[in-house]
Symmetry: C2
Subunit: 345 residues, 2 copies
Amino acid sequence: MPELRKDPIIGRWVIISTERRQRPTSFSPVIRSKEAARCPFCPGNEDATPPEVMAYRQSGSEPNRPGWRLRVISNKYPALKVEGPLDRQPQGIYDKMNGIGAHEVIIETPVHGKDIVDMTDFEVRDILWSYRERMTDLERDIRFKYILVFKNYGEAAGASLEHAHSQLIATPIIPKRVMEELEGARRYYGFKERCIYCDIVRQEITDQVRIIKDHDAFVAFTPFASRLPFETCIIPKSHQSSFLEMSDSEYLNLASCLKDTLLRIKLALNDPSFNYVLHTRPISRDAQDQYHWHIEIIPKLTKRAGFEWGSGFYINPTAPEEAAAFLRDLDTSSYRPDEASQAVK
Amino acid sequence: MPELRKDPIIGRWVIISTERRQRPTSFSPVIRSKEAARCPFCPGNEDATPPEVMAYRQSGSEPNRPGWRLRVISNKYPALKVEGPLDRQPQGIYDKMNGIGAHEVIIETPVHGKDIVDMTDFEVRDILWSYRERMTDLERDIRFKYILVFKNYGEAAGASLEHAHSQLIATPIIPKRVMEELEGARRYYGFKERCIYCDIVRQEITDQVRIIKDHDAFVAFTPFASRLPFETCIIPKSHQSSFLEMSDSEYLNLASCLKDTLLRIKLALNDPSFNYVLHTRPISRDAQDQYHWHIEIIPKLTKRAGFEWGSGFYINPTAPEEAAAFLRDLDTSSYRPDEASQAVK
């Protein structure tokens, strides 16, 4: 059973999950499956994964068989386990609890080598809908306080498989970074009685210099205090505390915005590894007026060195205004997905 | 001039330092100088670096010439600049100030390829003394609130030069991570009227399972809620808020402890890249009773993926007890430094 342990000084929870890697000497990079035939996420290999939690599939096709266009499974090597009580308890002066949670993988497409940038807006919307569907389901489990959706793309971003996928982890605590945003948003609201994210959107639309592109209900921009080069934020322009509050047309609009932004990053930076994370309000509906959901995209271009580790602040060698201009001015119209990525093998 | 920008939501300061890397497309790894002849940190190449701030050298030898055994210079590509006022100001709803600070490099030895693990305890003590000397000097600058000493070893840890060196950055703000420790330590003190770090030392000495080695005045251990595999902490066993409060014999004791710990990490993990950072109390003498200085050592064995980015909590695949046992049980007596590292070329 994984264990959640609390840092006694700063209160950060850490997952100690020793089942994922057994020996102290086994810190070699995970081998990526380049051959679609052996990829556990490819159609025909459904028995290489845990059974599916849900799927979007051709009517009449059977679960855990080909015929799906998107598939959600439990992670084969979960960071947290879904069965059991939390069992919060002390250990001397320390605090711990069982590593309870859900850890799922969203296989975004049956086509090996096809990524979000190669998909139609409708295919990307399916991914967003699958996030919504899994979040809505997991919110019913009273042990969970937060559901974090994220994507690791490329080896430098921590992806261990090439086939396009996102992940979701439901946790029994609100993660530290989200809590910091919540507290900051509450402090601002206490002072101004306005959502800080709404004020940021207004400021960015006024300034224009950090806007990558305006997409009707959403805007993609590089934050004023970007930690890393080409860090990008996608945010709804009107106040919305939860990812689950969108209308159907907004999901399609967001799909188009996400795809366009990732394509710009791919073309500008030679297909870099990246992470994206979805920050939405906690399950408790806490901070509905104060919090504002958003997606953070972080290309992996630099290494984190001792100063960043030791201080918690970042040295960013690219001004956000320069990054935004570079991404904004790109011509994306000539991009053609590989032919190989357009058919199920 | 670099700029310090404040994240409007969580209050984290970021250094935007565009002079360090010019073009958006230039994110290639820095080339390491393997040839000692071209290394700017080797004796004879003193003119390839900014002039020295201080040095320990043979009596009679001239500044910026060979004859030194340790040398401190300004960083050629500083993240922060030392001249100018802070000039705190708003920019719309945002906050910024000039990127004022000091950024120095401690060249730890004239011998290219020699590392702390290859040095005598007295040579390592020289490094610690140089930290003390530079910190004591920089504390007099009223613009600075904190001085962070750190070391990047190996490419994965962000080192751009192979020749053994540490760095020091003086900042006009207390870094976020130190502030979190200060606040946590204050909260605990408010509740218990005891230093939390002292309580942790007591707990660790009672439990023994996370102790790597006990070194008289210091102890090396793996923290209960280690973020990363083989994360290690070195801490004085008696209460001491500042690195500058040590007695002379304690500096020598610490040198021996640091060298032993780094040697264990080197032998156990096949000479991994690592960072270490020195956390001491702020210049203001704030929190003398509550804070307790320590060194954090972080081997670079895993990648930070989207979940860690998005949540701020960590998945650690190695239990700290397992890491400590592995490091504790190593036989370090047979280690012999390379002959090459024992003479100035």
